[in-house]
């Protein structure tokens, strides 16, 4: 028996188990959660051609900018606006309070027009400098507009020409208000009345500030997960994860004893590494992603099962413990490599063709395959070597043979 090796072995085991016990929860919580876990709304929009405006690259870039501005105004933590393909935009709104209203707002063209009595458009939203929601002296919810210097001139002209007449303010061709001009307004300021609530006035102000979309945008897909369901999914995943892990750990201990124990420690390290990798890649943890992790744990121990089975064969064939273990690792390597590469193909295809949660699943599955190969082969081997060098356990039985 060599105490040095044994001490080192125990130290490594203690460190891995300790780190696992202390950091697993904070680490898991530090990973960005998908909308299916934290609740929120996922929207897919598509720009479409209309007789007035055709979709081109320039228009698309402007659309993305404007939608980004609108989303940022919602004051959410970590929303996402992403262009997909030629004409699509994906928006993710985590923790949004009123998803229906947000969706409505995102897809609005928000073309503001000021028309004179003859219906001629004199000013548009482009002439605006700022728009703010306010409550005026008579307790009305209004949007206060401020024009750019160019716009202020046009507005002064419009009001001067139309004293005593009505001008009409339209949003997306729908009349917002049509007040009678009492006197010319030279300072470039105006208000829009007729908002039922201050929230409505705020939304209108956001739309006007962010500008009108240059092309029509349709909402193709929306997915909203309420906070209750998100929390429920999280709780249930935790239970499933715990039970699945315990089942695997007990199984490995029962069939492979000391080797199984070492494999279990390597499995803990694997889960830690997987979470760290996801954290570093800024990956999103989704519900299918958690399924992927639980599943990949099952696959991670497969490499160890292959090695240990090979070890048993070699040991029964008359090799010494150490030689049999070496042969187990060497011989099983090809098998593990070939079988994992083929599985990796499936994960890669999922990653490149899938979207949203499926992509999340592919990431965890793919990362899982690569990392589990490292932990199950290298780490297990390293630890078993130490243990064998320590010379404490001399019977093959203890290693499952």
């Amino acid at each position: 028996m060599k105490v040095g090796y044994l001490a080192r072995f125990i130290a490594v085991v203690a460190i891995i188990i300790g780190v696992f016990a202390f950091y697993i929860t904070p680490l898991a919580l530090s990973i960005r959660q998908g909308l299916d876990l934290q609740g929120g709304t996922h929207v897919v929009m598509e720009a479409v051609d209309t007789p007035e405006a055709k979709v081109d690259e320039d228009a698309m870039q402007r659309v993305v900018k404007i939608i980004e501005r609108r989303v940022n105004e919602l004051g959410l933590t970590e929303p996402i606006v992403q262009r997909e393909g030629e004409r699509r935009i994906i928006v993710e709104l985590p923790g949004i309070k009123e998803p229906e209203k947000a969706i409505e707002m995102l897809g609005k063209t928000a073309l503001l027009e000021f028309q004179d009595e003859s219906g001629k458009t004199v000013l548009t939203g482009k002439d605006l400098k700022d728009a703010k929601a306010q409550i005026d002296q008579s307790n009305r919810n209004v949007v206060a507009l401020e024009f750019s210097s160019e716009g202020a001139k046009k507005f002064a002209e419009l009001t001067a020409k139309n004293v005593g007449h009505r001008i009409t303010i339209l949003l997306d061709k729908q009349v917002l208000t049509s007040p009678v001009v009492e006197e010319p307004i030279p300072n470039g300021k105006a208000i829009i009345t007729g908002n039922r609530t201050i929230e409505e006035a705020q939304r209108l102000a956001i739309l006007l500030r962010s500008g009108a979309l240059p092309v029509k945008v349709d909402v193709l897909e929306t997915r909203t997960v309420g906070p209750t369901l998100g929390q429920d999914s999280k709780d249930k995943s935790k239970v499933a994860f715990a039970i699945g892990s315990i089942a695997i750990v007990v199984f490995m201990l029962a069939f492979y004893r000391v080797s199984g124990f070492v494999a279990n420690v390597a499995l803990m390290l694997y889960v830690l590494l997987l979470l760290v990798a996801m954290r570093m890649l800024n990956a999103t943890l989704t519900l299918p992603g958690i399924a992927g992790i639980i599943l990949s744990m099952g696959m991670a121990v497969d490499a160890n099962v292959l090695i240990f089975e090979r070890f048993k064969e070699e040991y029964r064939g008359g090799k010494t413990l150490r030689a049999a273990m070496d042969a187990g690792f060497t011989r099983a390597f090809n098998t593990i490599f070939d079988s994992n590469v083929t599985t990796l193909f499936a994960a890669a295809v999922l990653f490149f063709l899938g979207s949203g949660p499926i992509k999340g699943f592919a990431v965890t599955l793919g990362l899982g395959i690569v990392l589990s190969m490292i932990t199950a082969i290298t780490v297990t081997k390293f630890m078993l070597k130490m243990l064998m060098n320590a010379n404490v356990i001399k019977s093959g039985k203890a290693f499952g043979a």
């Binding site: 229906e100 929306t222 997915r223 909203t224 699945g244 099952g298 099962v305 193909f345 063709l353 949660p357």
Partner: protein
């Protein structure tokens, strides 16, 4: 040593068993198709939790005003009572305005509710998903055949893919028979099953490849493959068990949204383990023997 169970000898029984499982499924797919979710068909899904229990007919009344009374309405987890706070409604694609109107009417007539899930999938997106799923399957298969041909030989590749298609058909067939909903995550499940099944098959093929190197003249292909299956059998069983534990935990404790996903995996992994042992290797043996026979008759002819 006692005679070990011979997997290869029974191969035609395995093929028959596989056919027996696949045929009802294939018929079901042809006759009644799948219970496709809105991910494929397009549509709107409202999963709401009201403050008080509501009944299906109450919900249907609300939908009647919008001519949506033919929509699917389900109450969650109620086997004995007729009312439940949790309602699941599936309609055709509603426009943003329609959906808002329906929700407002529901709130007015049935009281306040919590949104569990609201989804709207346009018909365009649905048809794209179908196309993408088929492309994904084809690409994955092509890549795998390519890799196996490179590392092993073409015949191994084809045998593995046949076994894998068997697993896909078993899962598809059972989902069609059981009328279980097929959605986007089902596509992910199928690809995972493919990944697992091929992994399982490769392990056995790898052993066959290794044994072929030290192949003794007297041993037939049948015996060699049977020996290889036995050498890897413990591993095959242990691995499928650990993976099934994990999936079963997910199925039993993972919540409604991942139920169908884990069910597909449970069926697929079981089938994958079976087909690796009882289909993939026997197909390869049958092919090899057929080839040998051809070569022998060829030789016999040339001797004449």
């Amino acid at each position: 040593m006692r005679e070990k169970f011979n997997f290869i000898k029974l191969r035609y029984w395995w093929f028959a068993l596989s056919a027996l499982i696949m045929i009802p499924g294939l018929i079901s797919i042809a006759v009644q198709g799948f219970n496709l979710g809105i991910d494929f068909t397009g549509g709107t899904l409202l999963d709401l939790k009201f403050a008080r229990p509501v009944t299906v007919s109450e919900v249907r009344d609300v939908l009647k005003d919008f001519h949506l009374e033919n929509s699917t309405i389900q109450l969650a987890a109620t086997e004995h009572t007729e009312a439940s706070p949790n309602v699941f409604i599936r309609t055709r694609v509603l426009t943003e305005e329609e959906r808002r109107a329906v929700l407002a009417a529901a709130e007015k007539k049935l009281g306040p509710y919590d949104v569990l899930r609201i989804e709207k999938v346009g018909a365009v997106i649905g048809s794209e998903l179908t196309r993408e799923a088929i492309i994904a399957l084809a690409i994955a298969c092509a890549l795998m055949i390519g890799y196996i041909t490179l590392r092993f030989e073409f015949k191994f590749g084809v045998s593995a893919i046949i076994a894998l298609l068997h697993d896909v058909i078993v899962v598809l067939g059972l989902f069609s028979l059981l009328r279980k909903e097929v959605d986007a995550s089902f596509v992910a499940a199928i690809l995972t099953i493919i990944g697992y099944s091929i992994n399982d098959t490769i392990v056995i093929f790898d052993r066959i490849r290794e044994n072929l190197k030290t192949h003794k003249k007297g041993e037939s292909f049948q015996d060699l493959v049977n020996r290889s299956i036995w050498q890897t059998l413990t591993r095959s069983i242990y691995t499928v068990l650990t993976v099934l534990f994990a999936t079963l935990a997910l199925y039993l404790f993972g919540g409604e949204t991942t139920k169908n996903f884990s069910l597909a995996l449970l069926i697929g992994f079981t089938s994958g383990c079976y087909s690796s042992i009882c289909n993939a290797s026997p197909i390869w043996v049958t092919w090899k023997e057929f080839e040998e026979r051809g070569r022998r008759t060829q030789r016999a002819k040339s001797v004449k």
